[in-house]
């Protein structure tokens, strides 16, 4: 019998039987004790009643009531045990003489001397069985409690601990032979679930690896031919291979522009795929805000020249940011190139750093004087393949992925990204950096 439930039932049945039996014996003993005490009291009452009867007779006080009383006692006397008591009472009722009263008194004394040891005995028996009932109840209660703690709660606690370890130790798990009882069944069920989870994790790992391998191959296979195409066009267009006609050069320029656009699309698609596949690990380090902004401005200088839009910065010196410099530069590049695309010619796009807009937070803002964004579009523009159209501006040939990538990268750093804009009033794109410090004091202000 290894089942915990069966053992508990058997133990409970045994305990209950013993407690009920001892309780019954206690009750029975107490009943007897009460009965004997009642008989004792009755014996005293009997003698008193007979003495009272004698004095009534002597005073000649007889009435109908007295006759009824005598009749009643005659009936009661018949029930008295032992018989000598009944005879003694009958004798007094017939003739309430002193002699008969003395006989009655002696009989009752004899009867009471018989009763006293019995009363004592049953009193002790009631106490014994009462104590036995209480002791057995306590003993079996603690015994059951001990059994439940040892054979139920302890294994459950162990199983719970193993489940916690399974989750916290990155799903490593040591399988143990389960006990042949209900706890063992629970453990077996958990073991089966753990095996399934581990199997699925292995499957996910191999899927992840397959995805990673695919992205790596796709990246190489897409970028390699583009290198040749872009390279050939650039060399031909530059005139290094010989002079070409103006119309040929125009065609080369078109081909180069579209190649660059294709390269940007492929880069952003692959970046987004990697970010979503969690294959873009960050390598954060302290970088100066001045270097970040000046490197980004340098990268965009050609693009800004073509667009005839100036890049400016304000309040951007004196900070160090704990970020992956390549990724944050990508974010800033995306925001700035968007701002330049949507800015009228001759205008400026400004980068500003604001700290303590909310306590402990550092925000990088990009202001433009473009046409602004309608409120209903402001949430949508951070989604993939969404962009505001601008038929007037030929530079607006984006992929619709730049802001989605920027959002993902900012959120990977623990920051937030957003836009404040009113149609006709330009836009301010911003992102926050949780960990930063001022270079003057080099005080670390990390916001978790």
């Amino acid at each position: 019998m290894k089942s915990i439930r069966a053992r508990l039932l058997v133990i409970s049945a045994i305990c209950l039987s013993i407690v009920v039996a001892s309780g019954f014996l206690t009750f029975a003993s107490f009943e007897q004790f009460s009965q004997l005490n009642s008989d004792l009291a009755q014996s005293y009452d009997l003698v008193d009643a007979m003495i009272a009867y004698k004095y009534k007779s002597l005073s000649g006080n007889t009435s109908q009531k007295t006759d009824k009383w005598i009749q009643n006692w005659r009936v009661r006397a018949k029930k008295l045990q032992p018989e000598f008591r009944a005879d003694a009472v009958k004798a007094v009722l017939k003739n309430p003489s002193t002699k008969n009263l003395r006989f009655l008194s002696r009989s009752e004394n004899e009867y009471r001397s018989y009763l006293h040891p019995l009363i004592d005995y049953f009193s002790r028996r009631a106490k014994f069985f009462g104590s036995l009932t209480v002791a057995s109840t306590l003993f079996f209660s603690f015994g059951l409690l001990f059994y439940v703690l040892l054979y139920l709660f302890a294994p459950l606690r162990d199983l719970s601990k193993r489940m916690e370890e399974f989750v916290h130790n990155r799903y490593s798990y040591e399988f143990a032979v389960p006990e042949p009882n209900e706890i063992g069944e629970l453990q077996s069920a958990f073991d089966r679930m753990a095996q399934q989870v581990l199997g699925q994790i292995e499957e996910l790992k191999s899927l992840d690896k397959a995805k990673s391998d695919f992205l790596s191959i796709a990246s190489h296979e897409l970028r390699t031919p583009l290198t040749s195409i872009k390279g050939s066009l650039a060399l031909l267009n530059s005139g290094i291979m010989g002079k070409i006609t103006e119309s040929a050069q125009n065609l080369m320029t078109i081909a180069l522009d579209e190649t660059d656009r294709l390269i940007r699309l492929i880069n952003e698609l692959l970046d987004l795929a990697k970010i979503e596949a969690r294959q873009f690990p960050l390598h954060p380090a302290w970088i100066s805000s001045h270097d970040l902004i000046s490197n980004t401005f340098q990268r965009l200088s050609g693009f800004c020249q073509t667009a005839q839009v100036r890049l400016e910065h304000a309040d951007t010196d004196g900070y160090e940011l704990y970020v992956d410099s390549d990724r944050i530069q990508q974010v800033l590049t995306n925001l700035l190139s968007n701002a330049v695309k949507y800015s009228p010619k001759g205008q400026a796009v400004t980068v500003k750093i604001v700290c303590d807009a909310e306590p402990g937070e550092l925000t990088v803002e990009v202001h433009d004087k473009g046409r602004g964004i309608a409120p209903e579009d402001q949430a949508l523009i951070f989604e993939k393949f969404r962009q505001a159209s601008s038929p007037q501006n030929p530079l607006v040939k984006g992929t619709g992925l730049g802001l989605a990538i920027a959002k993902t990268l900012v959120e990977q750093h623990g920051g937030t990204i957003g836009v404040r804009s009113r149609p006709g009033d330009g836009s301010t794109f911003y992102f926050t950096v949780p960990k930063w410090r001022r270079t003057a004091n080099a005080q670390l202000r990390a916001v978790v």
Binding site: S219, R223, T227, G231, S232, M241
Partner: protein, 126 residues
């Protein structure tokens, strides 16, 4: 400069050679597989080595690793990679002075190489 170009794709190699020779007026030696890349790099006659990440027989990362393990000093190595953020390339980044991502602009190739080399010299001096 005397440049060792290790690139298995003949089209990219042609473009890179044209850019380096015609724009930068450098002398270029081209090899197309990992083993030739390693043996040429060990000769010590080059000023800079452009090493493609994926090549036949031996990858660029393996060539880099074997050269460094031998402990012989070689010219600075610049990776050419279509996928510079892979864990494998990141692992060997400390053994190189920088990387040039593909697709690259051939007209900017020489200036990119010069920038990487001068940054490396500045970092070493710093």
């Amino acid at each position: 400069m005397n440049i060792l170009l290790c690139e298995d794709d003949p089209n990219i190699a042609t473009i890179a050679r044209l850019a380096l020779e015609h724009v930068g007026h450098h002398q270029v030696t081209w090899v197309a597989d990992g083993n030739a890349a390693k043996s040429n790099a060990m000769t010590g006659q080059f000023d800079v080595i452009l090493l493609d990440e994926m090549m036949p027989h031996k990858s660029g990362a393996d060539v880099c690793n074997e050269i460094r393990q031998l402990g012989q000093p070689t010219a600075p190595i610049i990776f050419l990679s279509a996928n510079p953020q892979t864990a494998r390339v990141e692992e060997f980044r400390p053994m190189t002075v920088g990387y040039i991502a593909k697709p690259f602009d051939p007209l900017q190739l020489c200036s990119q190489i010069e920038n990487i080399l001068s940054s490396a010299v500045n970092n070493k001096a710093g």
